[in-house]
């Protein structure tokens, strides 16, 4: 079983991100369970979304405390909280880079990637919503999913122009990691 924890603020699309990620694993033939946990239950408040993945049906319903992978949609969350808390010693974190906010130091064999996801999103989608660029980066950084599968999941979620932009964002996020690995 693999466990992924997403950090974001309510309204930043973390549930959609978790859903697309789970859907990519589903396309790959695996079982996934994607679910949110709201803190204050209002826009802007820190919240988590989670994805649990396995080759058999996922039954565990608790939140994720010791993730294999972490995706941080909003780097400002790292100011007030340790978003890498509980991350596996071999864990991988993919962070939406923000000027002036330093990434935490990786422990042991952990890997941390800073991705200019909002910049990619601005150029591809026209809005600074880095979620799908982060998903591309996630695929490349973890090796869990190939680019095609992730793009297939995007096609199932979006249509038209939005789909096109997001497909490009995923690709650029993916390539950013490949080129900087």
């Amino acid at each position: 079983m693999k466990e992924i924890r997403i950090h974001a603020r309510a309204g930043q699309g973390a549930i959609t991100t978790a859903g697309i990620l789970g859907s990519a694993y589903f396309i790959k033939g695996m079982y996934a369970y994607a679910f949110p946990y709201f803190g204050a239950a209002r826009m802007g408040a820190p919240m988590n979304a989670f994805v649990r993945v396995d080759d058999k049906p996922v039954r565990m319903r608790s939140q994720i405390y010791e993730p294999d992978f972490v995706i941080i949609v909003d780097a400002t969350l790292m100011r007030g909280a340790n978003c890498l808390l509980g991350l596996s010693d071999k864990g991988i974190a993919v962070i939406n880079h923000k000027e002036g906010i330093q990434a935490p130091k990786p422990k042991l064999k952990q890997k941390i990637y800073l991705v200019p996801a909002n910049k990619i999103a601005q150029e591809t989608i026209g809005r600074p919503l880095g979620n799908t660029a982060l998903l591309g980066a996630y695929a490349a950084a973890t090796g869990e999913l190939d680019l095609n599968t992730m793009q297939e999941a995007i096609r199932e979620r979006f249509t038209g122009k939005i789909q096109e932009g997001n497909l490009e964002a995923v690709k650029q996020g993916f390539e950013f990691i490949i080129n900087n690995k």
Partner: protein, 391 residues
Amino acid sequence: MRAFLEGSKAIANTVSLCRPGVISAYPITPQTHIVEELAQLVADGKLDSQFVNVESEHSAASVVLGASASGVRVFTATSSQGLFLMAEVLFNIAGMRLPIVLTCANRAISAPINIWNDQQDSVSLRDCGFVQLYAENVQEAVDFHLLAYRLAEHKDIMLPVMVCIDGYILTHGIETLDMPEKEKIDKFLPAYQAPYKLDVDNPLTLGFLADPDYYTETRFAMQETHNEALKMLPELFADFSSVFGRNYQCVEKYRLEDAQKAIVAMGSVCGTIKDVVDELRKKGKKVGLLKISALRPFPMQDIYNALKGIPRVAVMDRALSLGSLAPLYSEIKSIFFAKKKAPKIISSFIAGLGGRDITAESIKEIFRQLNQREVVGKFIDLKAELLQDKL
């Protein structure tokens, strides 16, 4: 068809294939996605149904009551305070023997206000006459709606059914399931033929005054019908299995065969317990789970048979009966009163109130505490530091 869907979406689309003629609901978290999706299906012309917007849950329940009394299949859904606002009507629906299906997206009750999951809302209404089914996962949540309509509308039953699904965990959880196909649903669930209905050509009345000469017998009849439903459910489950290939029971025995310790629970937490049971079994611990899928009618005989040979039993409640024993616990405990064959210990644990996360560790703690003497109403994961008396 295999799909990866949000629980609410999966439920709404399945309910849609059941062809309800009237849907009425008032939005409340975490139920809202279900009726939002149904409203969308109606607006898009994909579902030929009358979606009645109302100003409160009391009205939503009243609308489906009236519609059902006129002989059409109906649907509504709610949570928490919304269910309580419906309560007065729900007793009427059951008393009028109207086969309504209601989804309760389980949520804690106020005050203090809390939008997260526990089961206090539906458990508090266990006496309202509805059949109550509790789902472990999205697949069950979907399938139970099909079973709900079949059971409710059976001419020998004619009772409403509440399908209880844990809020957020199942309503907002996206997971892999086999979505029931229209052809199979049509095979399993024929069109609703009301045995009696409000009809100007054949006038009758429902829920009319029953004075002391008659009232008792109406209640007796409902009690008898719940017993009848208990007998009918295994047949329905078998029929369901023959069409969809999935097997259900009023109680599910998970690795109980040689178990020395077992937890009794309802709803999505059963998945977590199963994982913990497997983990402990690998270490040689003889543990298991009894999952209660039907709280009403309460499958007492099944529970007795499942637990009578297990020395140590923990009942996990995600609701309270303030001032007394926890609701599920007191009912399980009463089954074994003065029975020769019975667990040595039946302990009561309270967990997961108002969305407090139930982790694998919480479950292990319950199994550990089963080594001790019987405990009653023990709260798991209680934060002692929040109980300090300081203002």
